[in-house]
Protein backbone atom coordinates (compact mmCIF):
# COMPACT_ATOMS: atom_id res chain seq x y z
CA UNK A 1 0.00 0.00 0.00
CA UNK A 2 1.34 3.37 -0.94
CA UNK A 3 1.32 5.74 1.99
CA UNK A 4 -0.31 9.18 1.99
CA UNK A 5 -1.55 8.81 -1.55
CA UNK A 6 -4.75 10.87 -1.74
CA UNK A 7 -7.79 9.04 -2.99
CA UNK A 8 -8.99 10.37 -6.35
CA UNK A 9 -12.43 11.94 -6.32
CA UNK A 10 -12.52 12.27 -10.09
CA UNK A 11 -11.58 10.36 -13.16
CA UNK A 12 -8.14 11.91 -13.38
CA UNK A 13 -7.25 12.85 -16.94
CA UNK A 14 -4.17 11.29 -18.49
CA UNK A 15 -1.55 13.62 -19.94
CA UNK A 16 -0.22 13.39 -23.47
CA UNK A 17 2.75 15.07 -25.09
CA UNK A 18 0.53 17.59 -26.83
CA UNK A 19 -1.30 18.58 -23.69
CA UNK A 20 1.42 18.54 -21.02
CA UNK A 21 1.76 22.38 -20.89
CA UNK A 22 -1.98 22.71 -20.38
CA UNK A 23 -1.94 20.37 -17.42
CA UNK A 24 1.30 21.80 -15.96
CA UNK A 25 -0.31 25.26 -15.86
CA UNK A 26 -3.21 23.91 -13.86
CA UNK A 27 -0.81 23.26 -10.98
CA UNK A 28 -0.91 27.06 -10.51
CA UNK A 29 -4.63 27.24 -11.39
CA UNK A 30 -3.77 28.83 -14.71
CA UNK A 31 -5.96 28.21 -17.73
CA UNK A 32 -3.78 28.35 -20.82
CA UNK A 33 -4.64 27.90 -24.48
CA UNK A 34 -2.65 27.29 -27.61
CA UNK A 35 -2.69 30.02 -30.25
CA UNK A 36 -1.77 29.61 -33.89
CA UNK A 37 0.43 32.58 -34.73
CA UNK A 38 -0.55 32.28 -38.40
CA UNK A 39 -4.33 32.10 -37.98
CA UNK A 40 -4.33 34.21 -34.80
CA UNK A 41 -6.88 31.84 -33.36
CA UNK A 42 -7.04 29.93 -30.12
CA UNK A 43 -6.88 26.15 -30.34
CA UNK A 44 -8.60 23.63 -28.11
CA UNK A 45 -7.96 20.86 -27.33
CA UNK A 46 -4.18 21.17 -27.52
CA UNK A 47 -2.47 19.52 -30.46
CA UNK A 48 0.78 19.42 -32.35
CA UNK A 49 -0.47 21.41 -35.34
CA UNK A 50 -3.12 24.06 -35.93
CA UNK A 51 -6.43 22.49 -37.06
CA UNK A 52 -7.00 25.55 -39.22
CA UNK A 53 -3.79 25.62 -41.27
CA UNK A 54 -1.75 22.63 -40.05
CA UNK A 55 0.94 25.14 -39.12
CA UNK A 56 3.14 24.41 -36.12
CA UNK A 57 3.87 27.99 -35.12
CA UNK A 58 1.86 27.59 -31.97
CA UNK A 59 2.33 29.34 -28.65
CA UNK A 60 0.72 29.03 -25.25
CA UNK A 61 -1.08 32.04 -23.81
CA UNK A 62 -3.10 32.58 -20.64
CA UNK A 63 -6.87 32.51 -21.09
CA UNK A 64 -9.22 34.93 -19.39
CA UNK A 65 -11.20 32.09 -17.88
CA UNK A 66 -14.49 33.67 -18.87
CA UNK A 67 -17.08 32.25 -21.18
CA UNK A 68 -20.71 31.36 -21.77
CA UNK A 69 -22.66 28.14 -21.58
CA UNK A 70 -23.26 26.86 -25.12
CA UNK A 71 -25.25 23.76 -24.16
CA UNK A 72 -25.98 21.92 -20.95
CA UNK A 73 -27.21 18.53 -19.80
CA UNK A 74 -27.97 17.59 -16.21
CA UNK A 75 -26.84 14.05 -15.46
CA UNK A 76 -29.15 12.13 -13.17
CA UNK A 77 -27.07 8.99 -13.19
CA UNK A 78 -23.32 8.98 -12.57
CA UNK A 79 -21.36 8.31 -15.73
CA UNK A 80 -18.53 6.75 -13.75
CA UNK A 81 -18.04 5.68 -10.13
CA UNK A 82 -16.28 8.94 -9.23
CA UNK A 83 -19.42 10.89 -10.02
CA UNK A 84 -21.73 8.75 -7.86
CA UNK A 85 -21.83 11.23 -4.98
CA UNK A 86 -22.22 14.22 -7.28
CA UNK A 87 -25.55 13.46 -9.02
CA UNK A 88 -27.38 15.39 -10.22
CA UNK A 89 -24.67 17.46 -11.84
CA UNK A 90 -24.47 19.74 -14.85
CA UNK A 91 -22.19 18.96 -17.78
CA UNK A 92 -21.83 21.85 -20.17
CA UNK A 93 -20.06 22.91 -23.28
CA UNK A 94 -18.63 26.37 -22.59
CA UNK A 95 -17.54 28.84 -25.25
CA UNK A 96 -14.56 30.74 -23.89
CA UNK A 97 -14.15 34.40 -24.75
CA UNK A 98 -11.13 33.33 -26.82
CA UNK A 99 -13.46 31.50 -29.21
CA UNK A 100 -12.90 27.87 -28.29
CA UNK A 101 -15.31 25.37 -26.80
CA UNK A 102 -14.59 22.99 -23.95
CA UNK A 103 -16.52 20.54 -21.84
CA UNK A 104 -16.83 21.13 -18.11
CA UNK A 105 -19.06 20.92 -15.06
CA UNK A 106 -20.91 24.01 -13.90
CA UNK A 107 -20.69 24.29 -10.11
CA UNK A 108 -21.71 26.92 -7.59
CA UNK A 109 -25.40 26.78 -8.43
CA UNK A 110 -28.19 24.23 -8.71
CA UNK A 111 -27.68 22.06 -11.80
CA UNK A 112 -31.16 22.85 -13.09
CA UNK A 113 -30.39 26.58 -12.86
CA UNK A 114 -27.64 26.32 -15.45
CA UNK A 115 -28.95 27.89 -18.65
CA UNK A 116 -27.64 28.22 -22.15
CA UNK A 117 -25.94 31.62 -22.57
CA UNK A 118 -25.24 31.93 -18.84
CA UNK A 119 -21.97 33.75 -18.19
CA UNK A 120 -19.43 31.60 -16.36
CA UNK A 121 -15.84 31.73 -15.18
CA UNK A 122 -13.26 29.12 -14.41
CA UNK A 123 -12.80 27.63 -10.96
CA UNK A 124 -10.52 24.79 -9.94
CA UNK A 125 -10.79 21.40 -8.28
CA UNK A 126 -7.60 19.77 -7.03
CA UNK A 127 -6.48 16.45 -8.48
CA UNK A 128 -4.32 14.04 -6.50
CA UNK A 129 -1.08 14.79 -8.33
CA UNK A 130 -0.99 18.55 -7.86
CA UNK A 131 -2.84 19.34 -11.06
CA UNK A 132 -6.25 21.00 -10.98
CA UNK A 133 -9.31 20.27 -13.06
CA UNK A 134 -10.96 23.34 -14.61
CA UNK A 135 -14.62 23.69 -13.68
CA UNK A 136 -16.84 26.71 -14.23
CA UNK A 137 -19.21 28.70 -12.03
CA UNK A 138 -21.74 31.44 -12.72
CA UNK A 139 -20.07 34.78 -13.13
CA UNK A 140 -21.78 38.13 -12.74
CA UNK A 141 -18.49 39.74 -13.74
CA UNK A 142 -18.66 38.54 -17.28
CA UNK A 143 -22.04 40.12 -17.94
Amino acid sequence: MAHDTPTPTRFEPPVSDDTAPFWEATRDKQLVLQWCTSCQKAIFYPRAACPGCLGDTIEWRPATGFGRVHAVSVQHKPANPFMADKVPYAVALVDLDEGVRLMTNIVGCEPDDVAVDMAVRVTWEPLTDGRHLPLFEPSALAD
Binding site: R10, T19, H70, Q75, V91, M103
Partner: protein, 396 residues
Protein backbone atom coordinates in the same frame (compact mmCIF):
# COMPACT_ATOMS: atom_id res chain seq x y z
CA UNK B 1 -19.74 15.14 -62.63
CA UNK B 2 -22.75 13.47 -64.16
CA UNK B 3 -20.54 10.82 -65.75
CA UNK B 4 -19.20 9.89 -62.34
CA UNK B 5 -22.51 9.00 -60.81
CA UNK B 6 -23.28 5.75 -59.04
CA UNK B 7 -26.94 6.12 -59.95
CA UNK B 8 -28.43 2.86 -61.09
CA UNK B 9 -25.13 0.97 -61.20
CA UNK B 10 -25.73 -1.43 -58.33
CA UNK B 11 -28.64 -2.84 -56.39
CA UNK B 12 -29.45 -4.44 -53.10
CA UNK B 13 -30.70 -7.90 -53.96
CA UNK B 14 -30.90 -9.66 -50.62
CA UNK B 15 -31.48 -8.69 -47.00
CA UNK B 16 -31.95 -10.36 -43.65
CA UNK B 17 -32.32 -9.23 -40.10
CA UNK B 18 -32.99 -10.70 -36.70
CA UNK B 19 -34.56 -9.14 -33.65
CA UNK B 20 -36.98 -10.29 -30.99
CA UNK B 21 -39.66 -8.91 -28.69
CA UNK B 22 -37.57 -10.25 -25.80
CA UNK B 23 -34.66 -8.16 -26.96
CA UNK B 24 -32.56 -11.31 -26.98
CA UNK B 25 -31.48 -13.74 -29.68
CA UNK B 26 -30.48 -17.38 -29.43
CA UNK B 27 -27.40 -17.15 -31.57
CA UNK B 28 -24.43 -14.89 -30.94
CA UNK B 29 -21.17 -13.93 -32.60
CA UNK B 30 -20.02 -15.66 -35.75
CA UNK B 31 -22.95 -18.09 -35.76
CA UNK B 32 -25.33 -15.16 -35.92
CA UNK B 33 -23.32 -13.45 -38.65
CA UNK B 34 -23.26 -16.59 -40.76
CA UNK B 35 -27.00 -17.07 -40.34
CA UNK B 36 -27.65 -13.53 -41.52
CA UNK B 37 -25.39 -13.94 -44.53
CA UNK B 38 -27.02 -17.23 -45.45
CA UNK B 39 -30.51 -15.74 -45.16
CA UNK B 40 -29.61 -12.66 -47.19
CA UNK B 41 -28.03 -14.78 -49.91
CA UNK B 42 -31.06 -17.09 -49.99
CA UNK B 43 -33.27 -14.02 -50.22
CA UNK B 44 -31.29 -13.01 -53.31
CA UNK B 45 -31.18 -16.48 -54.81
CA UNK B 46 -27.39 -16.55 -54.55
CA UNK B 47 -24.92 -18.71 -52.65
CA UNK B 48 -21.75 -18.00 -50.75
CA UNK B 49 -19.81 -19.20 -53.80
CA UNK B 50 -21.05 -16.13 -55.67
CA UNK B 51 -19.59 -13.71 -53.12
CA UNK B 52 -16.40 -11.92 -54.09
CA UNK B 53 -16.75 -8.74 -52.05
CA UNK B 54 -17.01 -8.28 -48.29
CA UNK B 55 -17.96 -5.33 -46.05
CA UNK B 56 -17.55 -5.58 -42.30
CA UNK B 57 -17.35 -2.99 -39.53
CA UNK B 58 -15.88 -5.31 -36.92
CA UNK B 59 -13.89 -3.94 -34.02
CA UNK B 60 -10.17 -4.45 -33.72
CA UNK B 61 -7.62 -4.75 -36.45
CA UNK B 62 -8.03 -6.89 -39.54
CA UNK B 63 -11.61 -7.83 -38.67
CA UNK B 64 -12.57 -8.60 -42.25
CA UNK B 65 -9.82 -11.23 -42.46
CA UNK B 66 -11.27 -13.29 -39.65
CA UNK B 67 -14.77 -13.14 -41.08
CA UNK B 68 -13.69 -14.14 -44.59
CA UNK B 69 -11.66 -17.02 -43.23
CA UNK B 70 -14.60 -18.21 -41.16
CA UNK B 71 -16.88 -18.02 -44.19
CA UNK B 72 -14.30 -19.80 -46.33
CA UNK B 73 -14.32 -17.11 -49.00
CA UNK B 74 -11.57 -15.18 -50.74
CA UNK B 75 -13.03 -11.77 -51.48
CA UNK B 76 -11.22 -9.82 -54.18
CA UNK B 77 -12.65 -6.59 -52.79
CA UNK B 78 -12.95 -5.76 -49.09
CA UNK B 79 -14.03 -2.83 -46.93
CA UNK B 80 -13.49 -2.66 -43.18
CA UNK B 81 -14.70 0.91 -42.69
CA UNK B 82 -16.02 1.46 -39.18
CA UNK B 83 -17.48 4.89 -38.48
CA UNK B 84 -20.01 3.59 -35.97
CA UNK B 85 -23.68 3.13 -36.70
CA UNK B 86 -23.59 4.59 -40.20
CA UNK B 87 -20.90 2.15 -41.33
CA UNK B 88 -23.45 0.08 -43.27
CA UNK B 89 -24.64 3.01 -45.35
CA UNK B 90 -20.97 3.80 -46.07
CA UNK B 91 -20.51 0.17 -47.06
CA UNK B 92 -23.37 0.41 -49.56
CA UNK B 93 -21.81 3.52 -51.08
CA UNK B 94 -18.40 1.87 -51.33
CA UNK B 95 -19.80 -1.40 -52.61
CA UNK B 96 -21.79 0.39 -55.31
CA UNK B 97 -18.60 2.14 -56.40
CA UNK B 98 -16.63 -1.10 -56.41
CA UNK B 99 -19.30 -2.92 -58.40
CA UNK B 100 -19.55 -0.01 -60.84
CA UNK B 101 -15.79 -0.12 -61.33
CA UNK B 102 -15.81 -3.85 -61.92
CA UNK B 103 -13.76 -4.66 -58.83
CA UNK B 104 -16.24 -7.30 -57.72
CA UNK B 105 -19.65 -8.71 -58.63
CA UNK B 106 -21.40 -9.77 -55.46
CA UNK B 107 -20.84 -8.00 -52.15
CA UNK B 108 -22.11 -9.12 -48.80
CA UNK B 109 -22.23 -6.92 -45.71
CA UNK B 110 -23.11 -8.19 -42.26
CA UNK B 111 -23.61 -7.03 -38.69
CA UNK B 112 -24.37 -8.87 -35.48
CA UNK B 113 -24.24 -7.73 -31.88
CA UNK B 114 -25.82 -9.15 -28.75
CA UNK B 115 -25.14 -6.72 -25.90
CA UNK B 116 -28.25 -7.76 -24.04
CA UNK B 117 -27.41 -11.43 -23.99
CA UNK B 118 -23.75 -10.69 -23.40
CA UNK B 119 -24.59 -8.67 -20.31
CA UNK B 120 -26.63 -11.52 -18.92
CA UNK B 121 -23.90 -14.05 -19.57
CA UNK B 122 -21.15 -11.99 -18.02
CA UNK B 123 -23.14 -10.91 -14.97
CA UNK B 124 -23.80 -14.51 -14.01
CA UNK B 125 -20.20 -15.28 -13.11
CA UNK B 126 -19.60 -12.15 -11.04
CA UNK B 127 -16.48 -10.00 -11.18
CA UNK B 128 -14.94 -8.52 -14.26
CA UNK B 129 -17.71 -5.99 -14.58
CA UNK B 130 -15.76 -2.80 -15.03
CA UNK B 131 -13.80 -2.36 -18.20
CA UNK B 132 -10.33 -0.89 -17.82
CA UNK B 133 -9.99 2.70 -18.95
CA UNK B 134 -7.66 2.93 -21.92
CA UNK B 135 -4.81 5.35 -21.32
CA UNK B 136 -3.41 7.55 -24.04
CA UNK B 137 -3.50 10.87 -25.83
CA UNK B 138 -7.20 10.66 -26.41
CA UNK B 139 -8.88 14.08 -26.17
CA UNK B 140 -12.05 12.50 -24.91
CA UNK B 141 -10.16 10.86 -22.05
CA UNK B 142 -8.41 14.08 -21.12
CA UNK B 143 -11.08 16.69 -21.67
CA UNK B 144 -14.46 14.96 -21.52
CA UNK B 145 -14.24 11.90 -19.27
CA UNK B 146 -13.48 13.82 -16.04
CA UNK B 147 -16.80 15.65 -16.28
CA UNK B 148 -19.01 12.59 -16.20
CA UNK B 149 -21.13 13.06 -19.29
CA UNK B 150 -23.25 9.91 -19.59
CA UNK B 151 -22.42 8.47 -22.98
CA UNK B 152 -23.69 8.36 -25.53
CA UNK B 153 -26.98 10.00 -24.51
CA UNK B 154 -25.25 12.97 -22.84
CA UNK B 155 -23.72 14.05 -26.14
CA UNK B 156 -27.12 13.98 -27.81
CA UNK B 157 -28.58 15.79 -24.81
CA UNK B 158 -26.16 18.66 -25.39
CA UNK B 159 -27.28 18.88 -28.99
CA UNK B 160 -30.92 18.84 -27.88
CA UNK B 161 -30.18 21.52 -25.29
CA UNK B 162 -28.73 23.78 -27.95
CA UNK B 163 -31.51 23.03 -30.44
CA UNK B 164 -34.13 23.95 -27.86
CA UNK B 165 -32.30 27.16 -27.04
CA UNK B 166 -31.78 28.20 -30.66
CA UNK B 167 -35.12 27.20 -32.13
CA UNK B 168 -37.56 26.79 -29.28
CA UNK B 169 -37.85 23.05 -29.83
CA UNK B 170 -39.79 21.42 -27.00
CA UNK B 171 -39.60 18.16 -25.12
CA UNK B 172 -43.14 17.47 -26.33
CA UNK B 173 -42.00 17.72 -29.95
CA UNK B 174 -39.11 15.34 -29.35
CA UNK B 175 -41.51 12.99 -27.56
CA UNK B 176 -43.81 12.97 -30.58
CA UNK B 177 -41.05 11.29 -32.58
CA UNK B 178 -40.95 8.44 -30.07
CA UNK B 179 -44.75 8.22 -30.08
CA UNK B 180 -45.00 8.07 -33.88
CA UNK B 181 -42.21 5.53 -34.09
CA UNK B 182 -43.98 3.32 -31.56
CA UNK B 183 -47.10 3.39 -33.74
CA UNK B 184 -45.03 1.80 -36.49
CA UNK B 185 -43.54 -0.70 -34.04
CA UNK B 186 -47.05 -1.85 -33.16
CA UNK B 187 -47.22 -3.30 -36.68
CA UNK B 188 -43.92 -5.16 -36.45
CA UNK B 189 -44.18 -8.46 -34.56
CA UNK B 190 -40.38 -8.52 -34.13
CA UNK B 191 -40.25 -5.16 -32.39
CA UNK B 192 -39.02 -5.05 -28.82
CA UNK B 193 -41.82 -2.68 -27.78
CA UNK B 194 -45.19 -2.74 -29.50
CA UNK B 195 -47.59 -1.17 -26.98
CA UNK B 196 -48.65 2.40 -27.76
CA UNK B 197 -47.18 5.29 -25.79
CA UNK B 198 -48.21 8.91 -25.33
CA UNK B 199 -46.25 12.13 -25.13
CA UNK B 200 -46.94 12.11 -21.40
CA UNK B 201 -45.43 8.62 -21.16
CA UNK B 202 -42.24 9.93 -22.71
CA UNK B 203 -42.13 13.03 -20.52
CA UNK B 204 -42.81 11.07 -17.35
CA UNK B 205 -40.18 8.44 -18.10
CA UNK B 206 -37.01 8.93 -16.04
CA UNK B 207 -34.73 11.76 -17.09
CA UNK B 208 -31.51 10.24 -18.39
CA UNK B 209 -29.47 13.28 -19.32
CA UNK B 210 -31.62 16.37 -19.51
CA UNK B 211 -33.46 17.18 -21.70
CA UNK B 212 -33.63 13.52 -22.81
CA UNK B 213 -35.94 11.09 -21.04
CA UNK B 214 -35.66 7.32 -21.09
CA UNK B 215 -38.19 7.07 -23.93
CA UNK B 216 -36.19 9.59 -25.98
CA UNK B 217 -33.41 6.99 -26.02
CA UNK B 218 -32.95 3.92 -28.18
CA UNK B 219 -33.13 0.40 -26.91
CA UNK B 220 -30.29 -1.91 -25.99
CA UNK B 221 -31.12 -5.21 -27.68
CA UNK B 222 -29.56 -8.07 -29.56
CA UNK B 223 -29.86 -7.74 -33.30
CA UNK B 224 -28.25 -8.69 -36.58
CA UNK B 225 -28.61 -8.20 -40.27
CA UNK B 226 -27.00 -8.55 -43.66
CA UNK B 227 -27.30 -7.26 -47.20
CA UNK B 228 -26.23 -8.55 -50.59
CA UNK B 229 -25.46 -6.26 -53.53
CA UNK B 230 -24.64 -6.81 -57.16
CA UNK B 231 -24.72 -4.93 -60.45
CA UNK B 232 -28.03 -3.53 -61.64
CA UNK B 233 -27.83 -5.82 -64.65
CA UNK B 234 -27.27 -9.03 -62.76
CA UNK B 235 -29.83 -7.97 -60.17
CA UNK B 236 -32.65 -8.35 -62.69
CA UNK B 237 -32.12 -12.12 -62.93
CA UNK B 238 -32.25 -12.82 -59.20
CA UNK B 239 -34.98 -13.98 -56.86
CA UNK B 240 -36.42 -10.65 -55.71
CA UNK B 241 -37.08 -7.30 -57.37
CA UNK B 242 -33.86 -5.28 -57.30
CA UNK B 243 -33.64 -2.26 -55.03
CA UNK B 244 -31.40 0.14 -56.88
CA UNK B 245 -28.85 2.46 -55.34
CA UNK B 246 -29.83 5.82 -56.81
CA UNK B 247 -27.51 7.95 -54.73
CA UNK B 248 -25.06 7.66 -51.86
CA UNK B 249 -22.84 10.10 -50.01
CA UNK B 250 -20.90 10.38 -46.78
CA UNK B 251 -19.56 13.13 -44.55
CA UNK B 252 -18.11 13.27 -41.06
CA UNK B 253 -17.01 16.30 -39.10
CA UNK B 254 -15.95 15.40 -35.55
CA UNK B 255 -15.28 12.55 -33.17
CA UNK B 256 -16.06 13.86 -29.67
CA UNK B 257 -19.13 16.03 -29.11
CA UNK B 258 -16.93 18.83 -27.76
CA UNK B 259 -15.58 19.30 -31.28
CA UNK B 260 -18.89 19.21 -33.17
CA UNK B 261 -18.81 22.37 -35.30
CA UNK B 262 -22.49 23.20 -34.75
CA UNK B 263 -24.48 21.17 -32.24
CA UNK B 264 -27.66 21.70 -34.24
CA UNK B 265 -26.41 20.79 -37.73
CA UNK B 266 -24.88 17.44 -38.63
CA UNK B 267 -22.71 16.41 -41.54
CA UNK B 268 -25.96 15.03 -42.97
CA UNK B 269 -26.48 18.55 -44.29
CA UNK B 270 -23.71 17.61 -46.72
CA UNK B 271 -24.21 13.88 -47.26
CA UNK B 272 -27.98 14.25 -47.67
CA UNK B 273 -28.04 16.87 -50.44
CA UNK B 274 -25.13 15.14 -52.20
CA UNK B 275 -26.92 11.81 -52.20
CA UNK B 276 -30.19 13.42 -53.31
CA UNK B 277 -28.37 15.24 -56.13
CA UNK B 278 -26.78 12.01 -57.34
CA UNK B 279 -30.18 10.34 -57.24
CA UNK B 280 -31.81 13.29 -58.96
CA UNK B 281 -34.48 13.62 -56.30
CA UNK B 282 -35.83 16.21 -53.90
CA UNK B 283 -37.00 15.64 -50.36
CA UNK B 284 -40.58 15.72 -51.60
CA UNK B 285 -39.93 12.66 -53.77
CA UNK B 286 -39.08 10.47 -50.78
CA UNK B 287 -41.75 7.95 -49.86
CA UNK B 288 -40.00 6.56 -46.80
CA UNK B 289 -37.25 7.86 -44.55
CA UNK B 290 -35.28 5.37 -42.53
CA UNK B 291 -33.47 7.94 -40.41
CA UNK B 292 -31.18 6.65 -37.69
CA UNK B 293 -33.01 7.19 -34.41
CA UNK B 294 -30.52 6.53 -31.68
CA UNK B 295 -32.34 9.31 -29.86
CA UNK B 296 -35.34 11.44 -30.74
CA UNK B 297 -33.05 14.43 -31.36
CA UNK B 298 -31.03 12.38 -33.85
CA UNK B 299 -34.07 11.78 -36.02
CA UNK B 300 -35.16 15.40 -35.73
CA UNK B 301 -31.77 16.66 -36.93
CA UNK B 302 -31.94 14.33 -39.93
CA UNK B 303 -35.30 15.77 -40.97
CA UNK B 304 -33.77 19.24 -41.05
CA UNK B 305 -30.38 18.38 -42.48
CA UNK B 306 -31.80 16.30 -45.33
CA UNK B 307 -34.15 19.12 -46.24
CA UNK B 308 -37.52 17.67 -45.27
CA UNK B 309 -38.01 20.94 -43.42
CA UNK B 310 -35.96 24.04 -42.72
CA UNK B 311 -33.32 24.16 -40.01
CA UNK B 312 -34.99 24.66 -36.67
CA UNK B 313 -38.41 23.55 -37.86
CA UNK B 314 -38.05 19.84 -37.13
CA UNK B 315 -40.07 20.13 -33.94
CA UNK B 316 -43.05 21.68 -35.70
CA UNK B 317 -42.64 19.27 -38.61
CA UNK B 318 -43.20 16.16 -36.49
CA UNK B 319 -45.85 17.65 -34.21
CA UNK B 320 -48.93 16.44 -36.07
CA UNK B 321 -47.71 12.86 -36.43
CA UNK B 322 -46.48 13.42 -39.95
CA UNK B 323 -43.80 10.72 -39.54
CA UNK B 324 -46.20 8.10 -38.18
CA UNK B 325 -48.66 5.76 -39.91
CA UNK B 326 -50.89 7.75 -42.25
CA UNK B 327 -48.49 10.70 -42.19
CA UNK B 328 -47.01 12.34 -45.24
CA UNK B 329 -43.45 11.20 -44.41
CA UNK B 330 -43.40 7.66 -43.04
CA UNK B 331 -40.24 7.41 -40.92
CA UNK B 332 -38.70 4.34 -39.33
CA UNK B 333 -41.53 2.02 -40.22
CA UNK B 334 -39.95 -1.00 -38.54
CA UNK B 335 -40.22 0.76 -35.19
CA UNK B 336 -36.73 2.17 -35.35
CA UNK B 337 -33.95 2.14 -32.83
CA UNK B 338 -36.44 3.60 -30.38
CA UNK B 339 -38.87 0.65 -30.42
CA UNK B 340 -37.70 -2.12 -32.77
CA UNK B 341 -34.08 -2.94 -32.00
CA UNK B 342 -30.76 -1.24 -31.34
CA UNK B 343 -27.75 -3.46 -30.79
CA UNK B 344 -25.25 -0.59 -30.84
CA UNK B 345 -24.69 0.09 -34.53
CA UNK B 346 -28.15 0.39 -36.01
CA UNK B 347 -27.47 1.35 -39.63
CA UNK B 348 -27.94 -2.15 -41.06
CA UNK B 349 -31.61 -2.17 -40.09
CA UNK B 350 -32.29 1.04 -42.02
CA UNK B 351 -31.19 -0.71 -45.20
CA UNK B 352 -33.11 -3.90 -44.53
CA UNK B 353 -36.41 -2.14 -43.86
CA UNK B 354 -35.98 0.27 -46.78
CA UNK B 355 -35.36 -2.68 -49.09
CA UNK B 356 -38.38 -4.60 -47.86
CA UNK B 357 -40.62 -1.55 -48.17
CA UNK B 358 -39.56 -1.00 -51.77
CA UNK B 359 -40.34 -4.63 -52.50
CA UNK B 360 -43.75 -4.30 -50.89
CA UNK B 361 -43.05 -6.96 -48.28
CA UNK B 362 -44.00 -5.13 -45.11
CA UNK B 363 -47.57 -6.31 -44.52
CA UNK B 364 -49.68 -4.03 -42.31
CA UNK B 365 -46.98 -1.38 -42.10
CA UNK B 366 -46.34 -1.33 -45.85
CA UNK B 367 -46.09 2.19 -47.23
CA UNK B 368 -48.46 2.05 -50.17
CA UNK B 369 -46.70 2.39 -53.50
CA UNK B 370 -43.29 3.20 -52.01
CA UNK B 371 -40.83 3.85 -54.85
CA UNK B 372 -38.07 5.87 -53.22
CA UNK B 373 -36.62 5.26 -49.76
CA UNK B 374 -33.76 6.94 -47.96
CA UNK B 375 -31.55 5.16 -45.44
CA UNK B 376 -29.66 7.78 -43.48
CA UNK B 377 -27.12 6.52 -40.98
CA UNK B 378 -25.47 8.33 -38.10
CA UNK B 379 -22.26 7.14 -36.44
CA UNK B 380 -20.23 8.23 -33.45
CA UNK B 381 -21.98 11.03 -31.54
CA UNK B 382 -23.70 12.78 -34.46
CA UNK B 383 -20.27 12.46 -36.11
CA UNK B 384 -20.42 10.37 -39.27
CA UNK B 385 -23.38 10.68 -41.62
CA UNK B 386 -24.07 8.53 -44.64
CA UNK B 387 -27.10 8.83 -46.89
CA UNK B 388 -28.27 6.14 -49.31
CA UNK B 389 -31.14 6.75 -51.72
CA UNK B 390 -32.81 3.55 -52.85
CA UNK B 391 -35.42 3.09 -55.54
CA UNK B 392 -37.48 0.50 -57.33
CA UNK B 393 -36.89 -0.48 -60.96
CA UNK B 394 -39.47 2.14 -61.97
CA UNK B 395 -37.32 4.96 -60.59
CA UNK B 396 -34.33 4.28 -62.81
Amino acid sequence: MADRTLRGQAAIVGVADAASPTGELELTGRALEVTMIAEALADAGLTIADVDGLCYAGFGGMATLGLAEYLGISPRWTDGTNVGGSSYEVHVEHAAAAIAAGLCDVVVGVYASTPRSDRKRSSGGGGGGRRPMPFGPDPRMEFEMPYGLMMPMGAYALSASRHMHSFGTTSEQLAQIAVSTREWAAMNPSARYQDPITIDDVLSSPMQASPLHLLDCCLVTDGAGAFVMTSAERARDLAKPPVHVLGAATCHDHSGIMAMPDLTTTAGAISGPNAFAMAGIKAGDVDLLMGYDSFTITALLHLEDLGFCDKGEGGAFVEDGRTGPGGSLPMNTNGGGLSYTHPGMYGMFLLVEATRQLRGECGPRQVEGAEIAVAHGSGGVLSAMATVVLGTEATL
